[in-house]
Each structure stands twice: as C-alpha cells, then as structure tokens.
Amino acid sequence: MPLKIFSFSSLTLFITCLILSILLIRFGKTRTHRAWLGFNLSVAIWGLGEFFVSKSYDSVSALKAWQFAHAGGIFIAPTFFYFVYCLCELKYKRIIFLIFLQGSFFVILSILNPGQIFLSQTYILLDSIHYLKSKGILYPLSLFLWISIVFWGLIEFVIFYKRAASVKKNQLLYLMIGVIIGFAGGITYFFPMFGLRIMPLGNFTIPLYCLIATYAILRYRILDIKIAITRTGLFIAVYTLVLGFPFAIAVYTKNLLLGIFGTDWWMIPLILMAILATAGPSLYIFLQRRAENRLLREQKRYQDTLKHAAIGMTRIRSLIKLLTMITHIVTKTVRISFAAIYLHDRQTNEYALQVFRGKNQAPLAALSLDSTLAKWLTDKREPLIYEEVKRQMQDSGDNAFKALEANMRLLNASVIIPILLDHTLTGFVVLGDKLSGQIYTPDDLSVFQVLASQAALAIENAQFYEEAKEMQAQIGQAEKMATIGTMADGLSHQINNRFYALSLISGDSIDTIKMTDTTGCSPEVKAMINQIYSALERIQANVMQGGEVVKGILKYTRKGDEGLEPLTIDQVLDGTIDMVQFKIKLSEIDIIRNYPQEIPKIKANLVQMQEVFFNFIDNAYDAIVERRTTLKEEGYRGSITITATPKDNVMQIIVQDNGMGVKSEDIKKIFTPFFTTKASSRKGTGLGLYVIRSIILETHKGTINFHSEYRVGTRFIIEIPLSGQV
C-alpha cells in the first residue's frame, strides 16, 4: 500500500509540475518566468524519477531510477536560487555561476556514477520502496550544499517580500507560501536516506505547491493567461467527468455489477455515460459562462465606465476640468494607485504636468520633447508598459530601452498611454500600478487607447475653446478701442466745450479782479482776493492743459485712411510723443533723436506712422521697466534712440532700446497676432506688432525687421519709401 501511494503521488507530482512548466512555456515572457520554468522542470524530473523508483523491481533498476531523479533533483537548488535572483533582482551574478557549477558537477556525477561513488546503494523502506541510502562523503556534501542554497534563496525571498510594495506583496505571498510548503515537504525526502523510516511527504506537498502557484498565477495575472486556458480547463474537467466516471465505474465496480446484473453489467456504465454525455455540453457552457463572467466582470465594469466617460468628455470646455475628470475616472474605475496627465506646453516646448491624482508629492514636473520617451511615443503611437520595457532592457541591453526605463521610472509609470492627434503627440497619461496588484491586460490597454484618442479630441476642443474665448476678449477690446476712436470726434467736441466754458468763466473772473481797485480793502479781504486770483489762474492752466490732451487724442484717433503724404520724421515723432506722454513717464527715459535736421521726407500716413512709433516706444518703455525691476542694475537709465538714414530711395529708421530684450524662442513669434509676453497686469492685446507689420508692409510698401538680445535690448528696423520732396 505505501508503494501504491508513493507511486501515485510521485506521478501526480510529475504531472502537476509538468503542467505548471507547460503554462510557463506557453505564456511566460520575462526572464523570471523562464527561471521559474527551469525550477519547475527540475522538480518535475525529480517527481518522474521517484515514480520510476516506485516502479522498479530490483535494486539495480532502482539505483538507475535514483540517478535519473537526481539529474533533475540536484538542479532544484540552483534553479530555485536563480528564480529568486531574477524575481528579487539580486546582485549575485558570480555566485549564480558557482552554484550552477557545483550543481552541474553533481548532476554529471549522478548520471555517470562511476564506481557508484556518489549514489551507492538502496534498501527497502516501508516494506516496498527501494530507497536510496546515503553513503560516503560526496552525497552528504551535495546534500549540504543543496540545503544551504535553498535556505539562502528562501531567506532572500522573505527579505524581498518584506521590502516589497504592498501591491507586489499580494503576488508574492502565495508564491512564497507555496514554495515554503513544497520545500518543507521536500526536506522529508532526505530523512529516509539517513535511516529515518518515514514516508517522504514531498510527494504530497509539492503538488500542493503547484496548485497554490497556479492559483497565484490566475488570481494575480502573473501570466497573461487568457480565457482559452479556462475554457480548456473546463472542457477537460467536464469531459473527464463525463467519460472518466463511467470508465472508473466499469473498472472498479465490475465485479459488483457482474454480481447484480450478470452479463449485461456493461449497460450500467454505458447508460451512465449516455446520461452524462447529454448533460455534458450544457454543463460545459454553463460553467464557461460563469467562469468568463467572473473573469471579465472586473474588466467589463470599467470598460463600460470608460466608454461613458469618453462620450461625456467632449462636452467639457474647461481644459483643467477635463483633465481632472479623466484622472479621476481612470483612478476610480480601474482602481489605480496613481495617474497623471502631461500635455505639450507650447511656450516652454516640453510636456508639462497638468494634473495628477493619488500621489502625495507631486511627480515629475515636465518631460523634454527630446527625451527618448517622447520620441518613442510619437513614433510607435502605442502604450508603453514598464515591465515590458524593463524586460527588453535586460534582454537586449539596448540604450534606447535603458533610457525608456529611466524615463518611465522618473515618471513613476507602470503604463504610459500616448494622447495622439493626427501625427503629433499632444501629451500622455501616466498610470501607476493597479491597486489589486494585477497586471494590465491587452484589453485594458485597448480601452485606454480609445479613451486617449477621445481625450485627444476633447483636449483639442477645450484648448480651442479657451483660445477662442481669449481671442474674443481681445477682439472685443480692440473693437471697444475702435469705437472710442469713432466717438472721439463727438467726445472731444463735448469736452472742448466744457473747457471753453471753464476758460471763459475763470478768465473773465481773473479779468474782473485785475480791473477792480482793491486799495481800500482790509488786509484780510486783499488776501482772500489774492487767493481766489491764484486759484483762478491755476484753473486756467489746467484748462489749457486739458485742451492739449484733447488735441492729442484727436490727432491720434483720426481715421488714417487719407493716404500717404510727405512727412518729416520730426512731425511723426512730435505727434507720437504728444500722445505717448499720457501713457508712459517720459521723464524716466531718454528719447534720443539721432538724425540731422535736413533730412528727406518720407511718403507716409501721419496717423498710421504715429501708431507705429507709439507702439515701438510703448513696447520699448515696457521692456525698460521690466529690465529695471528685474535686473536692478546700478545707474541703469532706459533710453530709446531713433536713428534715420536715407538709403537709395528709402529711409531707414532704427528704433533701438536698451530694455530687457526678447527671449530667442519668442523672437519668431512676435509678429503673430495675439502674441504677447506682457504680464497680465499690463496686458498688451498682442495686436500691436501684427498691425504695425501690416501697416508698414501693405500700406506703406516698406519693410520691417527686428533684432533682439535678451538682457541687452531690442532694435526695430523699418524702411519707408522717400517722398521725393525735400
């Protein structure tokens, strides 16, 4: 009886380890998977060897069986250690080599067994089993090494488990328990070798280990086992029942049936089979549906949620709300530890973090456009999975993968999903580990990809909407200015009337006081009259000034459609300064006119030219103020120099300031409509230079150029055709 048990259990051991190995061969992808495969194969060989031992009829054949068993069994220790080395990312490369070396040595020794120095003799254990007896020094030595290596591996495993993130801990726990159970039983193989007469328990605990390991694989998706396995498993299970049960009845209860039914006893198993075979398919389908629903339940749940999210997304107009919604939904439905979205920032030209959810400290702020990751995502247009990248890096040692791995690690990414619009990478979504510890299946990724492409559209939409709103605001502002311009005539007339009245009233009163003889008045009255007189004079002065302001506005707001005429630069500048003095403090800067008095006239439109120079001076002033407040240089004095030189038939006018200058990355953009670098408190509409350019190029048929150096200054160079008059 012990033999039968031993035989059956070792066969079970072999089969379970073999199945586990087949799973690993079929679905294993990483180096760790392969290491584990090696381990399981070694155990399988040991199991098979034990089976042969149980079937051997004399000690010679038994010894041969033991040799065979040891060929696998000895390798159990090195393969286990290598498996732990891969799983826990240890650093013992050289030790690995030594361990395998000793393993190979002993394996060769057991296969060849010259003079039976290694495996020498057997004895009868428990009345039936030809068990190996340890003799000499080599065998105990090999055993000692074996046990030490396994022990070491287990310790490393436990240390790693303790240190692991909680997410990984789930995966590892079952594996660890299974392995410990397996080895605990496995140790008992050695006791009989030294005389302790007990049944080796390894045959029972090791299949248990296989079961636990398989459970871990399925539960935590350690291997990407598809539904196919479940179906196959179910099929085998159902049909083993359908066919096997009647078969077993026929075999084991033949005598009993013979006794009851006589020669027709075979009808019983047959009828049983017929019944079961009819019920079989329905049972199979029923089980399959239940199993798949369970498997897919989780997935279906969040796939549906994500689908709904995708539809609702395009309606959100605020970019930040949209991004927050996406991270929120993704982390909640798929139950992820952490999610972040990075978008391309046009101004800084990098992928900047927009929103994140789930981490306590902020993750990496930005990723450069030139990074390997950004280029890869733009190129391949597919999600990146950290585990796979790491595996590729380990396998191929390619620098690209090294960089990708580093990038992903910096971002804390388990998965990165690109957000693509046409051919550009608008941004990307970083996802951390799933809280459940499961891996990301291809189904997950395809759902995310759909979400990402929807997101791309929604983001584009939101960005466009926000830009449109801003543009609207600016156009509204520009229109308002234009309306004020058209109202200027009526306005100025009204204002001038007030000033006229004021000047007459105060003027006449002054006149009256002058004409009155105050010699007879008391000193108090004289003083009072003097005070009133001064006050009236001040009113007069203010009134005159007011009149000048109105004149200036009128000059500026005239519609400049009246065509081109000969103008001197002084005319233009005088008018400009008249106007600009109300916006900027002229006393703070020097405006230097660097051209001779007798200079040819230009053919231009006075009002439009004043607009041009107003803009130049205004921008220069802002740059000067920015420099003054940012750099705070001693003795810095802002200056704007206007130089004019006739060249052939154009006048070249250079407006140079010593302000802050423009950053090189902005230089290309300054003539684009709505571009402005001004801080919001003094917001330029950004229309200025765009309109200026249009005035110079189209209306005046001149040219405009621009140089700037950050922290040095800015220079505008325009050329206007000469008028031909002097």
Binding site: N497, L504, D508, T512
Partner: protein, 125 residues
C-alpha cells in the same frame, strides 16, 4: 466802442464772455441759437459776431450765410471746437466771407485780441 453779438448755445460761455467784453466798454448782446441770433441782428445790427459753429437748430455755417444776406458788412468770427485745417468747414466759412476762424479752448486774451482786431479792421474799412 462797438457792438458785439455773442452766439453760443452754452450759457456759461455767453454770460462770461459778455461780462468780459462789457468791462471793455463794448455793447454786448447774446443769443443762444442761430435763429435767435438772426432775430437779434434784424432788430439791432452788431459790428462783430462771435459765432459758434456747432449748435442745435441751424448750425453756424448756415447762420453765417443768413447773416451775410442780411448785411454783408457784419464781421463774423467763427468759433469751433475741432481742428480747423481738417474741416472743409474752414474753407466754406472763408468762402462765405467769415472774418476769422478760432478754435476753443482759447485764452481770453486771444479772444480779446481777435475781436478788437476785427472791430478795428471794420473801423478802418
């Protein structure tokens, strides 16, 4: 010595300008609109008229025309709130025989000068 008619739709302008010129021994009449001005002229012809261009009712230029019809010898000084050169009104007024063209706001001394120059021109002529 002379007769002055001040035509302006602003009451402050009328009163204070009138007061000013009365101090200088001119006989000053005032009118608040073009029509009123023409009425007054028909009753009592002034030597010089200070005529505001923009008024309600008939504007200054039409009034000028009418005045010249009544008596071409009356000197009319046009007063405007807008820049002279850019207005075709300027040329029109000269055509119609305006004696002068000033724009507000202007200093009382200037106004005084213009009025008296015009008066004396009248006298000489």
């Amino acid at each position: 010595m002379g007769k002055l008619l001040i035509v302006d739709d602003e009451i402050d302008v009328r009163e204070f300008a009138a007061n000013f010129f009365r101090k200088r021994k001119l006989e000053v009449a005032i009118a608040g609109s073009g029509e009123e001005a023409l009425e007054k002229i028909k009753q009592d012809k002034p030597d010089v008229v200070l005529l505001d261009i923009r008024m309600g009712g008939i504007n200054g230029i039409q009034t000028l025309e009418e005045i010249k019809k009544i008596d071409p010898g009356i000197q009319v000084i046009m007063v405007t709130g807008t820049k002279p050169e850019e207005n075709e009104a300027y040329h029109k007024c000269l055509e119609l025989g305006a004696a002068n063209y000033v724009h507000k706001p202007l200093k009382l001394e200037e106004l005084e000068q213009v009025v008296f120059n015009t008066l004396n021109k009248d006298k000489v002529a």
